[in-house]
Symmetry: C2
Subunit: 217 residues, 2 copies
DNA sequence: TTGCGATGTATCGGCCCGATACATCGCTCG
DNA sequence: CGAGCGATGTATCGGGCCGATACATCGCAA
């Protein structure tokens, strides 16, 4: 997941670790706590080793784009990395629909084709609906066997699930009707792949992410 | 966190692993995905080794309380374990207020004293309020620099945070007013303000959890 | 009787987190 | 003037937790 997020940010602009973390925290606001350095740096190493990004030492030519600082290490995405990003973005594993995964995918929706957006939104909706039905069932069938606090917690959970389903429903409707939110991305990336099908109502799973090696140092 | 949850369940009744998982999944419905066996069994081992629980082989005297099965291993909490449970229950670390931690603590609220309940509720509220304010700030200050989808995500996050704060507020009010157990009806039941307790507004942190050893096998 | 789904215990690799350490820069305040 | 402090910045380590996987047994139905 982190991999996707990092690749996505680096696609917009080269950055160093600290910047990456701040940007990540800002974009994924909810649905995803601020990422830890204990995750970030090892992940960067893996990506580096896998050839998805490159390192640019502090003595390089790039003028400090922000507040100038000391020996920072700027990371830049490679062609392989862009490919990888596209693959991850369209991947359809179960982890695509949990809180963290959905948040990250959603964040990059402006760079995702409509069919994939619909599939993800519908997958997420399905997931939440299942949770909601489970909660409903439990409240109806075993409601009187639970203590008052647990009950209260479940009720709140049910409420939240219900709200999220409605939210997703609205987004799905909007997508279908073509009211695609304007792509106001700061850095519009060249939209090469244009081969998308007309208006498929979110069909089957695209090529599943085969999990790359990304192995030991 | 798992430790607390397991100890709490075993305090209600002895159980084996499979049962533990189901019970856990049911009680923590939201706020906490179903726990994995890859976590459960190692945790049980740690607890066993630390002397917080004991193992009861399949040939024991306990009659199968559920659908009878095969060589199950029934776990039982010890006196040390109960002590540990109480300590964890009242502990006041930051992890007490994140989604998972709050969910687990809340689940055992009926076995928590009112002062602690209030502290946890207010700690959680504070946490969510901070998130909410951060979101508000961002939407107000940098709202036009973000793309439409990110904006939509943040807005939904803000909504959820707002709702949770209100929920917590209600619970806190109820606690203070002495309507201790959350009333089961959707509509809050009015209660004539009796039993004027000191109504301490949830003070400082109790003994902080000192993190036991629980070490290697 | 074969096979399937629920029950049940267990391990392994790997992601990710919190704590911690270290270093530099720019600022304010005594 | 320099001492301290908060933000910036890179990095590691131990450990919690997860998903995938492997077994084994039981009850039931095709």
């Amino acid at each position: 997941m982190l991999e996707l997020a990092i690749l996505g940010l680096l696609q917009e602009a080269p950055m160093h670790g600290y910047e990456l973390r701040k940007e990540l925290a800002a974009k994924l606001g909810t649905l995803r706590a601020a990422i830890s350095y204990g995750t970030l740096y090892p992940t960067l190493k893996r990506l580096l080793l896998a050839g998805f990004i490159t390192e640019q030492g502090p003595g390089s030519d790039i003028p400090p784009p922000m507040t100038s600082k000391r020996g920072r290490i700027v990371y830049k995405i490679t062609a392989d990395g862009k490919e990888r990003f596209a693959a991850l973005l369209a991947a359809a594993g179960p982890e695509t629909y949990d809180d963290a995964g959905f948040g990250v995918h959603f964040t990059f929706f402006s760079r995702t084709d409509r069919a994939t957006r619909l599939r993800i939104l519908e997958g997420r909706r399905r997931r939440i609906e299942e949770r909601r039905e489970g909660l409903r069932e439990m409240l109806a069938r075993a409601g009187d066997r639970l203590d008052a606090y647990t009950l209260e917690l479940q009720r709140h959970g049910l409420d939240s699930a219900d709200r999220e389903v409605r939210w997703l429903e609205e987004l799905i409707t909007r997508e279908r009707s073509g009211t695609t939110p304007a792509v106001t991305a700061t850095a519009p990336v060249e939209d090469t792949e244009k081969k998308t099908s007309p208006a498929g109502p979110a069909a089957e799973a695209p090529p599943v992410k085969p999990a790359p090696h990304l192995d030991r140092p």
